[in-house]
Symmetry: C2
Subunit: 318 residues, 2 copies
Amino acid sequence: MIENEIISLIEKADKIAILPHVSADGDALGSSLALALALNILNKKPVIYFEEEMPSIYGFLPGKELSRIYEGKPDKYELVIALDTGDLDRLGKRVEIFNNAGITVNIDHHPTNTEFAGVNFVDTNASAVGEIIYRLLTMMKIGLDKDMATCLYVAIATDTGGFRYSNTTPDTHKITADLINNGVDVSYISQTVFDTLSLQKVKLMGKAIENLELFENGKLAVIKITDDLLKSVGAKEEDCEGIVNIGRNIEGVEVAVVIRQRASGELKVNFRSKDYVDVSVIANRHSGGGHKRAAGCTVKGDINDVKEMLVKEISEVL
Amino acid sequence: MIENEIISLIEKADKIAILPHVSADGDALGSSLALALALNILNKKPVIYFEEEMPSIYGFLPGKELSRIYEGKPDKYELVIALDTGDLDRLGKRVEIFNNAGITVNIDHHPTNTEFAGVNFVDTNASAVGEIIYRLLTMMKIGLDKDMATCLYVAIATDTGGFRYSNTTPDTHKITADLINNGVDVSYISQTVFDTLSLQKVKLMGKAIENLELFENGKLAVIKITDDLLKSVGAKEEDCEGIVNIGRNIEGVEVAVVIRQRASGELKVNFRSKDYVDVSVIANRHSGGGHKRAAGCTVKGDINDVKEMLVKEISEVL
């Protein structure tokens, strides 16, 4: 059993580094922190290396004292564990730590994982890497405390969209039951992680709604975000994340599009569909990519011309 | 055990009516439909009486063929079961069916329940009445099918705010694991129940954001909704539900207020707080009521004067 092999490697190693993917999300952060907290109890001197600062909404997560931001010049580690990382590119600069390691382990749940490590444990049935870490800690008989449970809860809750995505399984809920039993503060975490928005983001949402246009009897929603609009509310490019869902969530809408002017002058386009349109086909036509229900591309041109072109293309498949 | 008493009453009865509360929400609807589907399998001829039409977002729920809208002239039922109903007022006109019944049962989870029936089963630890119905059906050894599981999932998911409120317990998640095991389509239900908004509601949200004002260094958010604004986006009074959360969810906001002009000319005020302000104190001062973190009142006067008065009152406790 691969789990036993990994546990044995951990037991033998003394100096262990943990590497979540670049732009670490709730699952990458929560899994890394939970594992580090557990290894710390076993006196394994764990260090988490992040590529960049943690997003502020995760500032409440325990275990941060076991992490640092990588600044080059890799130490030598007996064991390096990559978490939630589909391929080596997703380690960014920290690939230096990975390449400098004695033994490498890759724990992930992405079907596209390239099995890049010495030991690879990819469980595509796990909703989050947090589920896999939960099982490992349980097998290692490390009693979960509130801190570890909190980190794992955040990992699982964020990667399942708050238990709403189709990757949510009976096991997801059974594990979550045990995490709450160990003291997780559900409402505080949910409020912080899911329901807290910056003023700039809220104002951007307001402007996006003001600019929203419907076509094809309300089946197509298009939002244009110009650079001027972004500046007018003091929002940043990252605040545009999720804006496309405003269109998608409207009753009767099948395809939602956000066309965003970047500082570079290029236009970034996000597509979402609800039931039957394969938006990756449209994104591919413009050298983009993605899935049936979520895709994107980058195009050049005037924002209004691009809008008209896309409305025409999408209308044909609605 | 009260559960056994209720099961025995169900087994003895032939003609059974189920009464959820007026303006039935996800828990009232889902619990009623799941119970009716189960009783139907036992050939108990169950009928659910609704006070009014079901909200359209719940149109996908199975078991509707066992329900009807009450139109007066109550039939005589051997057994009437009120669900999720805190007191007799919450039965509306259907109190006639209740008063005309042989035996009455009250199954609820509200701490304020007045125990108005012959047999009262109030479990305040249950996140939703759906949890209580799940346990009853399990005790009755009725094998859950996908339809019943779907109804109970909606009951539990909605009453816990999608597993985010503090009423979410380990048992909530354990039960949900079993419901998903019985075939619940998590992503379809979540999209339909939590993420679908009418165009009018989205436009109202946009206007609300445009009108949002911050006071006290961003700790107080106030949104005014005039009758004209509501009409300008084609929204109805019910679309105002939840608008107060737009303010509350902004980073740094402690108290959010929505002041809404009603067609009658009165002003309806909703208060929400995040961490430390007891908004029920302010609502009480204006003959309203509620909880520490969620309260409301109705006042008369000019909307701008009322806004200034409330800003002053709330500033004193921030």
